[in-house]
């Protein structure tokens, strides 16, 4: 990654393509959940990449490049939301789904067809609270630690843990409801 980063700083097209390909889809997913529509999410990701790449000379490598990038994606998303005066994104804005969920059938996900699986995934992503989606996306596909997520979002570590816990519960609830439907 460091080699690509150095080349990207020098304006190497191949290295820039590599960096963009590595992060653009996850960055887009995070922004999409926060801002709510594809056009804005794409603008947010584009702006974040441009900000990162124009100021990359100041990057001190004290943290990972991706941590820096996702933090800017998150900040840009919030800025976009503020501009549009959209719904609040604070931790208190939880949608209140009860945590006493039905115990999960561990094989639930394995038993369904590919078509159903996609439907389930779409529903799950849609129903997750934006902050839960944010921390789970950063933790799993983003492979970020709790510390890094805290640094990216500005949430405390315990808040990150709570959000992850709630997010998982919401996901299991959706899977179980899907299975019993």
């Amino acid at each position: 990654m460091d080699t690509y980063l150095s080349k990207a700083i020098d304006g190497d097209r191949e290295a820039l393509d590599y960096l963009l390909d590595q992060h653009k889809d996850l960055a887009f997913s995070i922004a999409l959940k926060l801002v709510g529509n594809e056009a804005d999410a794409e603008d947010v990701v584009q702006e974040a990449f441009i900000k990162v790449l124009t100021t990359i000379g100041r990057f001190r490598k004290e943290s990972k490049f991706s941590t820096w990038l996702y933090r800017i994606v998150y900040n840009e998303s919030l800025r976009r939301l503020n501009e549009k005066s959209r719904e609040c994104l604070h931790l208190d804005c939880d949608n209140g789904l009860p945590l006493n969920f039905v115990p999960l059938d561990e094989d639930a996900f394995e038993k369904i067809s590919r078509e159903e699986e996609q439907k389930l995934v779409n529903e799950a992503m849609e129903k997750l609270n934006p902050n839960e989606h944010l921390v789970l996306s950063l933790f799993y596909p983003g492979e970020k630690s709790i510390n890094e997520i805290s640094s990216i979002t500005g949430f405390t570590k315990s808040n990150v843990r709570v959000l992850m816990h709630r997010g998982r519960r919401h996901l299991y609830d959706i899977i179980n409801r899907y299975k019993h439907a």
Binding site: K24, E42, F49, R168
Partner: protein
């Protein structure tokens, strides 16, 4: 948390990553990036410095005039200033000078300041 639950969440979240719809997203970003870099390159680098120098010269000149005016206790022979125009000019130029110094300093600090890895974003 059970390992199976963790695995399930991971799988679900990985499958939930949406592909960016634009096919030419990379091209667009790189094009924008080049545009911004060009704009930055075209921006007169010394514009703020020039403003400071200009304001400084005018400030010094008006300062001298005001000083001489005050020291002599009467209007200068080459500048009639009954309404205190020179004094007003001196105040205005001081404000411009302070503003120019402020913007120059801000620009300098911004160019020197690095990201500390946790809080500052560009």
């Amino acid at each position: 948390m059970k390992a199976s639950e963790d695995k399930l969440t991971k799988k679900l979240m990985q499958k939930g990553v949406r592909k960016i719809p634009s096919e030419n997203f990379n091209g667009r970003v790189i094009h924008q990036l080049e545009q911004r870099r060009k704009e930055k390159g075209l921006k007169p680098a010394g514009s703020q410095s020039l403003l400071v120098v200009l304001a400084s010269v005018l400030l010094i000149l008006s300062g001298i005039v005001v000083y001489l005016h005050g020291a002599s206790g009467e209007s200068l022979s080459f500048i009639q200033d009954p309404a205190g125009v020179m004094q007003s000019l001196f105040v205005v130029l001081s404000v411009i000078f302070v503003y120019a110094i402020y913007t120059l300093l801000a620009e300098f600090l911004e160019s020197r300041g690095g990201w500390n890895g946790s809080h500052h974003t560009p």
